[in-house]
């Protein structure tokens, strides 16, 4: 009898790699700081997918715990980062990342 194979981990890892690449491209090409921030969240999300995949196929719970911590750090980052954007907009009237170049050499 013909048996359908289960989904191999390599497919999940490839999907994670594609999502990470899209996040990198967005973070490097967009000017709006909030969209750059969203792309960083996309990258964190892709890494979480890798953690969960390997945790599933190595039958370990450590990857799940680590993904949980990554989410906690992402939440903290969102709170502080968005507060910084609000303050930046208040003082400079823009959040385009290429116009905020005071610290640039």
């Amino acid at each position: 009898m013909w048996v359908v194979p289960t989904i191999p981990p390599a497919l999940y890892l490839m999907l994670s790699g594609i999502l990470f690449t899209i996040g990198v491209i967005g973070a490097l090409t967009r000017r709006n700081a909030i969209v750059v921030f969203m792309c960083i969240e996309l990258m964190l999300n892709a890494v979480n997918l890798t953690f969960i995949t390997l945790s599933r196929f190595l039958q370990s719970v450590d990857g799940v715990i680590f993904a949980f911590f990554v989410m906690a750090v992402a939440a903290a980052e969102a709170a502080v980062g968005l507060a910084i954007f609000v303050m930046l907009y208040r003082s400079r009237e823009t959040i385009n990342v290429d116009e905020v170049n005071l610290l640039k050499w």
Binding site: P9, L42, N48, L58, A72, A75, A76, E77
Partner: protein, 175 residues
Amino acid sequence: MAENFGILFQWLLFMGMAFVSIVASILVITRKNPIHSALFMVLTLLCVAVLYILLHNPFIAIIQVIVYAGAIVMLIVFVIMLLDLETELRSKLKIVYSKVIGGFLAVLFLIGLLYVAVAKSPTGQTGSYTPEKMGTNVKTVGESLFTTYLFPFEIVSILLVAAIIGAVILSKKRT
């Protein structure tokens, strides 16, 4: 036969979710209006949550929907509304052949990541958490979180308090 149909359904679900998440994340980085980007990001996150359920991890899937799609994107949408942004214009900075060089580097990066993903199957000692044991996923994760990983858990709580205080102080009006 019934197992075959189940696995076939998993394949269909995986392919659909993978396709939708890739398309939605491409739309995130190409839309000019940041609100549209935020909404397409919610779509990507929900698709990845479905993939977590396919991987027998309902706990992380629920946390993904609540924390990422619920809280973080909500915060982003609020800040976008607060700031009254105009649609993004093209940068005045011009580099010769920037599209060619950037596209080449991006494809190189993607090929590297995909090669790493397929070159070796994941090796290492397999643990004791078989899919049958992960059936009570929340219980298993909670036990591990409150025994083995108790100290990092407490550290994360301190980090979150620090982030809350930092956000309040940063966004406070100067007197």
